[in-house]
């Protein structure tokens, strides 16, 4: 049975009605989002293998729409593997295969008839290292829309502007959209990648340690950006920085050696973890 974030914790027993109670677990300063909180990605006994090695083990979880969910855990615990499974980026690795089910909006992501190209259009991803194309800023943002058949210059200009504004980059680059994106700073490149992902209007944004290659100032900007996007997109962010997870997320998943150990509202997980392992991890007894 798939579990909601609350139910997956050991305090599940103390739970009353699902859904309606979700808000009480949110950190007080974080308001509930409108039309949010529906199961957006659902894992049922979902495992991921590299050859014989089970990197992610029988995960049951529901990611709630329009909230920010952080994934934390020590290095090598399967955070990236799980995240990349959601838009099937793991397909690039020949030895990688899955078991169980992973649903997106009620559709099986690994279903026989699922078109991974369409899926990726709806589930955007930003990677650990900024990876703009060696093209102009404009062409980077317009890449996705062009893929999906938009070629009208005016429309593209509109999309580029809107995406860059959403990614809080417009003011910095509006006068040099034709310059090569590789000339931007690392932080700007990463926000460009966010803008590029937003330009295809995805439902979900997957962020795999988006700030690990950035300096603190650029990191703060990205975090602000996530705050900005919260409520409009379902966001999953992998981070090994626990402060970051507590700052930006509504819910947190803690993975350890491929197992989803604890999944709870962020505040609860950090202040009152139910699992000893979680406690040890967030108190820094191991990393």
């Amino acid at each position: 049975m798939p579990m909601t974030a609350e139910a997956n914790t050991r305090s599940a027993a103390s739970q009353g009605a699902e859904g309606s109670n979700r808000e009480i677990f949110l950190p007080p300063e974080r308001k509930a989002v409108k039309d949010g909180g529906k199961p957006h990605v659902t894992a049922k006994n979902f495992s991921i293998f590299y050859g014989d090695f089970e990197a992610v083990k029988k995960v049951n979880a529901e990611v709630l729409s329009r909230y920010v969910t952080a994934i934390i855990g020590p290095s090598g615990c399967g955070k990236s593997t799980f995240l990349r499974a959601i838009n099937r980026m793991n397909d690039l690795i020949p030895s990688c295969h899955t078991a169980g089910t992973l649903m997106f909006n009620g559709e099986d992501i690994y279903g026989k008839y699922t078109d991974e190209v369409l899926l990726r259009k709806r589930i955007g991803m930003v990677f650990q290292k900024p990876n703009p194309f060696p093209k102009s800023i404009f062409d980077n943002i317009a890449y996705g829309p062009r893929l999906h058949g938009i070629n009208d210059r005016k429309t593209l200009e509109g999309i580029v502007e809107k995406s860059l504004k959403k990614a809080a980059l417009w003011d910095e680059v509006s006068d040099r959209l034709d310059r090569n994106a590789l000339g931007l700073s690392g932080g700007q490149q990463q926000r460009l990648c966010v803008a590029r992902a937003l330009a295809v209007e995805p439902d979900i944004l997957l962020l795999d340690e988006p700030t690990s290659a950035l300096d603190p100032k650029a990191t703060a900007k990205i975090e602000d950006l996530i705050e900005e996007l919260r409520g409009s997109y379902t966001i999953l962010i992998v981070t090994h920085n626990m402060q970051q997870a507590s700052r930006v997320s509504d819910y947190t998943m803690f993975f350890y050696e491929g197992v989803l150990v604890e999944y709870a509202p962020t505040k609860q997980l950090f202040t009152n973890p139910k699992d000893q392992m979680t406690e040890d991890y967030i108190t820094g007894r191991f990393s």
Partner: protein, 448 residues
């Protein structure tokens, strides 16, 4: 290891390295200097009035009035020579048959040399071959002819234990007391007036067609042939090679067939080029019959097969060198695999692919063996673009060999051979230079 030994080792290694580089540079110099100096002689030389006349008559270039004036002037200087020949002819008529026979062969030789020098003499029948219609067009050839005229070459066989030695005696001795005797001194002193040498820059060597099997004229047919063959080869090999590389890197599964294909490709890269030549003849001409016999098309196909492995490998490496992150970014945005290849991977791999292609182009331009049986003829006219499917062509690489080893007047046209070598080297160098520049430009554009 202590510091002292380490320093000594470092220093000796530096010495060895520097020495080997210097040796290489010297070897290059030894090869390049004669080629460049020899090749430039095809373009820059002391040209005689005969050269200017030839260029005017055959290619319509030159100042007509100036030429007429010079012709008049040289004719003036030649008149005494012709007069002396006439006088000697008359003298021969009056001789006893035995005496006449004695002079005859010597006299014929004198006439031949003068013919070489000045062109047809009065009384000679109008020659058919162009090479006999003109005298020495180059001053250094005229000087050789002069030596030939002035001296008889003899061999000293007196010592049976050593090789015969060459020595010269003045030819004038043979004609002492005849009307021909003053001719030798006259020619020696008036040769310049008869031929009017002046420095020439014969750029037509590159752009003119060859005349009378390269005795005169330029090498345009060869340059064009080389161009056709190399470009033709690339026309087939480049798209095929890039497609194969895409297949190998993006689509091929890691199985037995793929590894077979890969090793076949590597093996092909090491096959001697003459084998490709024979293959081209057997396959493209005899089996597939792309043309009746040798043709540019058959040669291009053969060269294409030869350079294909290089192109595939270069393209493969270039594609593999494209950062994985580009691929992830593109696929993550919902691009199909093919779209990702075309819009992201190939553009990023382009510098590497182009480098490989241009190196291959240079190789296709320079190879001789593959075109011997499939495309090359030693003497041929320039062909039009429409003829490439049926006609063979001369080409630099093959004609360098041919002119140096098989031409009936190989010794007299050394400047043409060197000129061809220099042209070929320049073409290949130019291609490689443009590869480097193009690569740098694209890389810069990619880096922003």
């Amino acid at each position: 290891m202590n510091l002292g030994t380490r320093k000594i080792l470092d220093r000796s290694f530096t010495a060895v390295g520097v020495t080997s580089i210097v040796l290489m540079a010297l070897a290059l110099l030894v090869v390049l200097v004669p080629i460049i100096s020899g090749g430039l002689k095809a373009l820059f030389f002391q040209g005689t009035i005969e050269h200017r006349q030839l260029v005017y008559n055959e290619f319509g270039r030159g100042d007509r009035e100036e030429l007429e004036r010079q012709k008049e002037q040289s004719q003036e200087a030649r008149r005494p020579v012709f007069a002396m020949l006439d006088a000697f002819d008359a003298e021969l008529e009056g001789m006893e048959p035995a005496e006449r026979r004695e002079y005859r062969s010597q006299y014929n030789h004198v006439r031949d040399v003068l013919h070489d020098m000045l062109g047809p003499l009065p009384g000679d029948i109008e020659p058919l071959l162009l090479r006999f219609q003109y005298g020495n067009t180059r001053w250094e050839q005229a000087e050789e002819s002069l030596h030939d005229l002035l001296y008889v070459t003899k061999w000293d066989y007196s010592n049976p234990n050593v090789m015969a030695e060459k020595y010269f005696t003045p030819r004038v001795d043979e004609f002492q007391g005849t009307a021909l005797a003053p001719l030798f001194a006259y020619v020696e002193t008036h040769l310049e007036e008869m031929l009017l040498p002046q420095p020439e820059f014969y750029w037509g060597f590159i752009t003119d067609r060859s005349l009378d099997a390269h005795i005169f004229g330029g090498i345009w047919a060869e340059i064009q042939g080389t161009f056709y063959l190399a470009m033709g080869a690339m026309l087939f090999a480049f798209p095929l090679g890039v497609i194969a590389a895409i297949y190998f890197t993006e689509y091929a599964k890691d199985n037995f067939l793929t590894s077979m294909l890969r090793s076949a490709n590597s093996t092909l890269a090491g096959v001697p080029s003459i084998v490709f030549g024979l293959f081209g003849l057997a396959f493209f001409i005899n089996t597939v019959k792309v043309s009746e016999s040798k043709s540019v098309l058959a040669g291009s196909l053969t060269l294409a097969i030869m350079v294909l492995p290089t192109i595939i490998r270069a393209a493969e490496e270039a594609i593999l060198a494209v950062p994985k992150t580009y691929r992830e970014a593109s696929l993550g945005l919902g691009a199909t695999k093919w779209r990702t290849i075309v819009t992201v991977i190939l553009p990023a791999a382009l510098p590497g692919i182009i480098t490989g292609a241009i190196i291959s182009l240079g190789r296709a331009a320079g190879e001789t063996a593959p075109i011997i049986f499939t495309a090359a003829v030693s003497v041929g006219a320039t062909i039009g673009l429409a003829d490439v499917f049926t006609e063979p062509t001369p080409a630099l690489s093959w004609n360098i060999y041919n002119l140096a080893s098989e031409h009936e007047a190989a010794n007299e046209i050394r400047h043409v051979q060197y000129g061809m070598v220099l042209s070929l080297i320049s073409i290949v160098l130019l291609l490689n230079m443009s590869a480097i520049l193009l690569r740098a430009r694209i890389s810069k554009k990619l880096k922003g």
